[in-house]
């Protein structure tokens, strides 16, 4: 027997205090009720012996004392919250999956009812109930009463977020566990990594409770993204969308016939996969106007992909939406905001090497202008005075700067990470630095300094013929990327997916519920789908875009088999203790009524 609220020592001490207190009360002088009678002649004769009931004299009613002590002990026992010791040696963690895959019909409600039933069966002292959706939330902590679970789960709903079961189980296993181990019971349909299950601690058993599932017929958008345009045009971007539209139309063989289906592969505003996917149609719009598909066709895994090439990168909201709603609505639409990619205005000084000028002139994303006043980026030598505050690519004397490349940018939380990202962003990883070092007869180094704005200082001698840098294939890449890096974030792609996908951003974002998402290490993750805004008012649409959720929502059969069996129910002593106390109270009442005890 264990106690939820009191230690065994405290309980025993309390019991001793109760016994002592009741004993003293039995021995205390009785406060008599005064009754005036005609004569007390006969009472005096009758009470000749009863006058012995005074302080520190013989104990008069041992059976009454034992009875009231038994009742008080049972009440004290119920206060201590006793639990059967046979089943409380292991920790029980009930994980309720509240990801998007549970939003089909009554699946979440059924799972929640199963959790409640199971929580009532398990010992409260060692049972934890948590929900795993966009966030992990504790619904019932060890020792708390199960009615709290009902209260906390009143408005529980599935999040438009990918499954976090793996993360949750990993978190539970990494925390302090009971010495005898833990039983983790999953109530949900999302899969669990086989690798995770294989590497669990030996005293941890993960099992999956059976949850009645609603019938489903799901199709969903599994990807909506942007890529650099195949045409190379700076002011355009390629757009793609992937749809899993097999729905419940899977035949008995279970094979996706999409790959061999004779879908209409005609460019148009609508991705029509009717033939293979039983009438699922996806529409793709830019600010409400349909986009014309460049390509569409099946992928090897049975999904369908459509591509829209050379979409003008001038902002605007792209939305993909399925024609038919189904059991899982979170994956029926996705959206992104196109980047703003206007031509970068670059002002060149007269002393700039001709090779650099030629590369910039050939860049379709760059417009060469005269005068630094309206320039987005300035290219000049270090001995020329700056005429504007625009970010500059400065050619410096080799003797004046130890490092060949010096990047300047505002203070970063993690300078090393910022340097690494900048190194890749500028295409410096493509430069043959060994060759350059050999020709310069000194190391080619990269350095990062802090400043109010971005800037690049590079040896001007690198552009001279002796280095042969201008003749390499990495030179135009370095120039193009340097100009774009200096121009700022306007070139960023405006889309991301919910869950653990990291979105590159140095600013904080806020969702519709005013939840704040701070960047860490220059990246930020959004746990659930929906629009988020930054301090500058820019909107970013976070889409579900989780193929696993879409596929599972339609057919959960690929889930791994439950590992281990669920724990058996436990004996709850509390109701029996209360019942025993009530029976003893009735016995006492009967004894008093029949005047067997005073």
């Amino acid at each position: 027997m264990n106690f939820t609220w009191l230690s065994t020592g405290i309980w025993l001490a309390g019991l001793g205090a109760l016994a002592t207190g009741l004993f003293l009360l039995q021995r205390l002088r009785v406060r008599h009720r005064e009754v005036v009678v005609v004569t007390n002649l006969f009472w005096r004769e009758a009470v000749e012996e009863t006058r012995a009931r005074v302080f520190v004299q013989r104990f008069r009613h041992p059976w009454a004392y034992l009875l009231i002590l038994a009742i008080a002990s049972l009440v004290w026992l119920s206060v201590a919250g006793p639990e059967s010791s046979s089943s409380s040696s292991r920790e029980h963690v009930l994980v309720l999956d509240t990801s998007a895959s549970m939003s089909r019909g009554d699946t979440l409600r059924n799972a929640l009812e199963s959790v409640k039933r199971r929580a009532r069966e398990l010992p409260r002292r060692t049972t934890t109930v948590i929900s795993a959706g966009s966030h992990v939330r504790t619904l019932l902590a060890p020792g708390e009463e199960t009615p709290l679970l009902d209260q906390r789960a009143t408005n529980l709903a599935a999040d438009a977020a990918p499954s976090s079961l793996n993360r949750t189980i990993r978190s539970v296993c990494s925390g302090p566990l009971h010495a005898d181990g833990a039983d983790i019971e999953v109530f949900g349909v999302s899969p669990i990594d086989a690798e995770l299950l294989a590497n669990l601690p030996k005293n941890v058993v993960v099992s999956r409770a059976s949850v009645p599932e609603a019938a489903s017929d799901n199709s969903g958008i599994t990807a909506l993204g942007l890529s650099e345009p195949r045409s190379g045009a700076w002011s355009t971007i390629d757009l793609f969308v992937e749809v899993d539209g097999r729905g419940s139309a899977r035949d008995a063989n279970g094979a996706a016939r999409g790959a061999n289906a004779a879908a209409r592969d005609v460019p148009g505003a609508t991705l029509d996969v009717t033939a293979a996917m039983r009438g699922v149609t996806a529409t793709l719009t830019l600010d409400g106007a349909p986009l014309v598909l460049s390509e569409s066709g099946p992928l090897p895994d049975g999904r369908w992909r459509a591509i829209v090439r050379d979409v003008s990168a001038r902002g605007g909201r792209v939305e993909a939406r399925l024609s038919r709603s189904d059991a899982l609505s979170a994956d029926d639409s996705a959206a992104l905001v196109l980047p703003m990619r206007p031509a970068i205005r670059v002002a060149l000084s007269a002393s700039v090497p001709s090779a650099l000028r030629a590369v910039l002139a050939a860049d379709p994303g760059v417009t060469l202008i005269v005068g630094e006043g309206e320039a987005d980026v300035v290219v000049r030598r270090s001995d020329e005075a700056a005429k504007s505050a625009a970010p500059a690519l400065v050619l410096v004397d080799e003797a004046a700067q130890p490092a060949a490349f010096v990047l300047q940018q505002p203070a970063a939380i993690d300078p090393d990470s910022a340097l690494r990202r900048s190194y890749e962003a500028l295409g410096l990883d493509e430069i043959d630095s060994t060759e350059l070092a050999a020709r310069a007869e000194r190391p080619i180094e990269l350095d990062l300094v802090q400043g109010t704005s971005r800037g690049i200082s590079v040896w001007g001698s690198l552009f001279e013929p002796k280095f042969d840098f201008t003749a390499t294939r990495s030179f135009p890449l370095f120039v193009a990327r340097s100009v774009r890096w200096l121009a700022g974030d306007a070139a960023r792609l405006g889309t991301t997916a919910a869950g653990e996908v990291r979105f590159g951003s140095d600013t904080a974002w806020t969702d519709a519920a005013s939840r704040l998402f701070d960047p860490a290490d220059g990246e930020v993750a959004f746990p659930r789908a929906g629009d988020v805004r930054d301090a500058a008012g820019r909107t970013l649409h976070v889409s579900l875009l989780d193929m696993q959720t879409t596929v599972l929502a339609r057919d959960a059969s690929p889930l791994p088999a439950p590992a281990g069996s669920s724990a058996s129910g436990v004996f709850e002593p509390l109701p029996w203790i209360v019942l025993a106390a009530l029976i003893l109270l009735l016995v006492e009442w009967w004894l008093v009524r029949t005047e067997r005890i005073p």
Binding site: H32, V37, T39, L41, F42, W43, E45, E595, P598
Partner: protein, 298 residues
Amino acid sequence: MPPRIEAKTLCDEAFLASLEHLRIVARRVAPRGRFAEQRSKDLGGGIEFRDYRPYSPGDDLRAIDWNIYRRLGRLFVRLFEEQEDLPLYLIVDVSKSAWHEEPPRAMAGLRTALALASISLGQHDRVGIFPFAEDLRVLQRPKAGKGRILHLANLVAGIEPGGKTDLVRSLATFSHLGLREGLVCVVSDFFDPAGIDAEIEALRALRHRLLLVRLARPSDKNPDLRGDLRVVDCEENTAADVSITPAVLERYREAYARFDTKLTEFARSRAVGLIEIDVESDVVTQLARLFEAGTLRV
């Protein structure tokens, strides 16, 4: 202070009418009484023939039985049974305990006394009333007359509640009054702190016929008390702490039974009439039931 009892409450026409058929008959009353309806030990000028005795000078010549003289040649006079009265002395308990409960025992006691008085006055007997508490006092010396009952009722209604019960002292006081032998009727609960033994000794010392009217209520025998109590005597203010258990109740009943037995044994051994009146029931009905064929023989 309990409220005074109205004379009309104690005695009204219906009350008197219900008593008309009741009689108290003595076997022989003491001699030298007033002419009345009770058979006396005196022999004289009554109606019913009782005996003969030899003539002695001075006897009434009209009493000589000349038939006997003719047969025997000797003079005998006829003796007739005298009919005299039986004085009724009502010794009524008006101590504090008689007024304590509701209905008060005094109500039943006074109504019983008036009922007996009414019956005796109806038989031309003299009736005296002597209320007692700590001591006896004379409320009404023995007097006869049917019409006195209402006067007695008014007197009784004016009785003030007394203090402690002291029947022993009260009976001693009564003995010193030197009254002619009659019927002493003690109306009381007999809860004298001196104890039943002292009461019996005092009763035994009386040179009168005795009729004991015991005022009782059911709770005397089976008290309806529970819990831890401090039982306070209403007259003496003495207290007894008691936790009432079945065992204690049993001992109480045993004590009460001893008291009851002693009083009953005394009545039986002295051929004393003992009447128990339930103070919570109608007095006349109970008296009528106790008077066999309407007659109480003392």
